[in-house]
Amino acid sequence: MISLQSYLIISAVVFILGILTILYKKNAVGILMGVELILNSVNLNFLAFSKYIDAHINGQLVAIFIIILAASEAAVALAIILNLYRDRANIDVTQVDQMKN
């Protein structure tokens, strides 16, 4: 049987990879992928805790809602990025700097 620790280690690694993706990717869609990684690590945590600690299924419920959240967020995000691409033919976030003091 797989122990709870293994799940937690995997999810922590995925979380850190997600954070690193957000910090180092220049492409807006790449950053979104980092956010997806983070949300998936959250899901993994909730599912693992739900199996090993909680007597109920609250954690699984949260995981399902987070999948929906991720989908709706990605839909809006892609629309916004597409709009940006139409206006400047480029989605490199380091070049999005119209406003500076």
Binding site: L32, I38, N45, L61, F65, I80, L84, N101
Partner: protein, 489 residues
């Protein structure tokens, strides 16, 4: 309470949901020149939602939908505040977005999200309501699709928002792992009964603070604020600076009262002892950093919207300062300050929205001699800015008196001194705008015609700002009566 029984306590939210659908459908049948009707319908819906929420003061506090949300007077207070702030935003938006039904519908959806956000009693509901407010806000920030600045604001808001929500959710998963519950009350009980691992609990709290701090623009999660405030359409900037932020503070208070603190015999709340660092001290440092950074960055701004954005950060710092002591007085002070802040900040943004189309510029330098070119508008802006500084006899002064007295009563003298010093710094940049308007001679002396509509709405915001500076008793009594946080499953 079971799901079916809960519905009767959920009428304002149900009403908002129905009106959202109705307005979308009604708009399909309106002719181009009659489209403004959907804006009026939105205003009506918000008024009714406010009245329905007000009626809920009669109910005794209860938890609804199997403990998913709670209905207490604290939540009702912020529901009324949220609906009222959106109502004013509808009127502020009317000149710019006259015939955009979907814009008003989006505002209503955010209001519904804010209604749920102040009533949360479950980790899942915190996530869902924050996303409901957040995702729609990203769309609203980029509402001017062809405007590059608006696009940029939208993208930055989105990326910061999505990342911080994810981080917060990760913190939630650890809290769930330590307690085995998602209900805030049950989490509190579990944390009190069996001490969690200090380090794990500390990590979870810090991760969650990242998400909540982003929502209320707390340093060091404030990076999005200046760009989003400058790039978004002005009515939307005004909206972000009050509604979602006040509601975010309410969520912050609820999070503090349930997860890291518990009702105490001595004061109202005690911070849970099993955190390895002292949370009040951490909050004090964050509050001082937030106001200092906001004020110091505002000093060098050339753009009025960006200046108001940094000043909004500073004001969050003042509110956080009161949360450090965290007793009944402090929470009342924060709630009262939210009301005051609504009027003065909307006022300042409304003047910006009035003046910008005339000057075709948001630069402070272009406000030169506005006192001669549009006397009434300039005087009104001066009053709002004085109120934001906290100079008597304006409402901002009274708001700050309550915040500072709550801090001083609990002997946090250094914090109060730093807060007052910050107010002095803020005087410099607010007064600079006033100096430019009144003391510098304009290059052209043409009078600026301000429409009657703009003048009336200015008065609507100006009168409470002045009256609450002299006679605030009814408002503070109302606020004190609204201080009731419900604990239960």
């Amino acid at each position: 309470m079971s799901n079916l029984n809960s519905l009767q306590y959920f009428i304002p939210e149900l009403f908002l949901t129905v009106s959202i659908l109705v307005i979308i459908i009604v708009d399909l049948f309106l002719k181009k020149e009659k489209k403004v009707v959907s804006a009026y319908l939105t205003a009506l819906a918000l008024l009714v939602a406010m009245a329905l929420s007000f009626q809920q003061y009669n109910f005794s506090p209860a938890s609804l939908f199997e403990g998913m949300v709670v209905l207490d007077s604290f939540a009702i207070f912020f529901k009324i505040l949220a609906a009222f702030s959106t109502l004013i935003i509808v009127f502020i938006s009317l000149p710019t977005f006259r015939d955009k039904a979907e814009y008003y519908v989006l505002l209503l959806v955010v209001t519904l999200g804010m209604f749920i956000m102040v009533q949360v009693n479950d980790l899942l509901m915190i996530l869902l309501s924050m996303e409901m407010v957040g995702v729609i806000s990203y769309v609203l920030a980029g509402y001017n699709k062809k405007n590059l600045k608006s696009n940029e604001a939208s993208l930055k808001y989105l990326l910061f928002g999505a990342a911080s929500t994810g981080v917060m959710a990760f913190g939630f998963s650890y809290i769930y792992g330590m307690t085995g519950h998602t209900n805030l009350y049950l989490i509190q009980q579990a944390l009190l009964n069996n001490n969690p691992h200090p380090l794990a609990f500390f990590i979870a709290v810090v991760l969650i603070l990242a998400g909540l701090g982003y929502k209320i623009a707390m340093v060091p999660f404030h990076f999005w604020v200046p760009d989003v405030y400058e790039g978004s359409p002005t009515p939307i900037t005004a909206f972000f600076s009050v509604g979602p932020k006040a509601v975010g503070v309410a969520l912050f208070i609820r999070f503090l009262t349930t997860i890291v603190a518990h009702p105490a015999s001595t004061g109202l709340y005690d911070f849970t002892q099993n955190i390895p660092i002292k949370l009040p001290e951490l909050l004090a440092v964050l509050a001082v950093l937030t106001m200092t950074l906001g004020n110091l960055s505002a000093l060098q701004q050339k753009n009025i919207k960006r200046l108001l954005g940094y000043s909004a950060i500073a004001h969050v710092g003042y509110m956080l300062m009161a949360l450090v002591v965290f007793n009944g007085n402090a929470i009342v002070a924060v709630m009262f300050y939210a009301i005051v802040y609504l009027f003065m900040n909307f006022g300042a943004f409304w003047i910006v929205e009035t003046i910008t189309p005339k000057l075709k510029s948001e630069r402070i330098a272009d406000y030169t001699g506005l006192g001669y070119r549009a006397p009434f508008t300039a005087v009104a802006l001066a009053v709002f800015l004085f109120s934001l500084t906290g100079i008597p006899p304006t409402a901002g002064f009274i708001g700050k008196v309550y915040l500072f007295s709550a801090v001083i009563k609990e002997q946090w003298y250094l914090l109060a001194v730093l807060g007052v010093l910050n107010s002095v710094v803020s005087l410099y940049y607010y007064a600079y705008v006033i100096k430019v308007m009144f003391l510098n001679q304009p290059e052209n002396n043409d009078l600026i015609e301000v429409p009657l509509y703009n003048k009336v709405l200015t008065w609507v915001l100006l009168i409470p700002t002045l009256v609450m500076g002299l006679y605030w008793n009814p408002v503070i009594t109302f606020t004190e009566n609204s201080l009731g946080l419900f604990f239960g499953k």
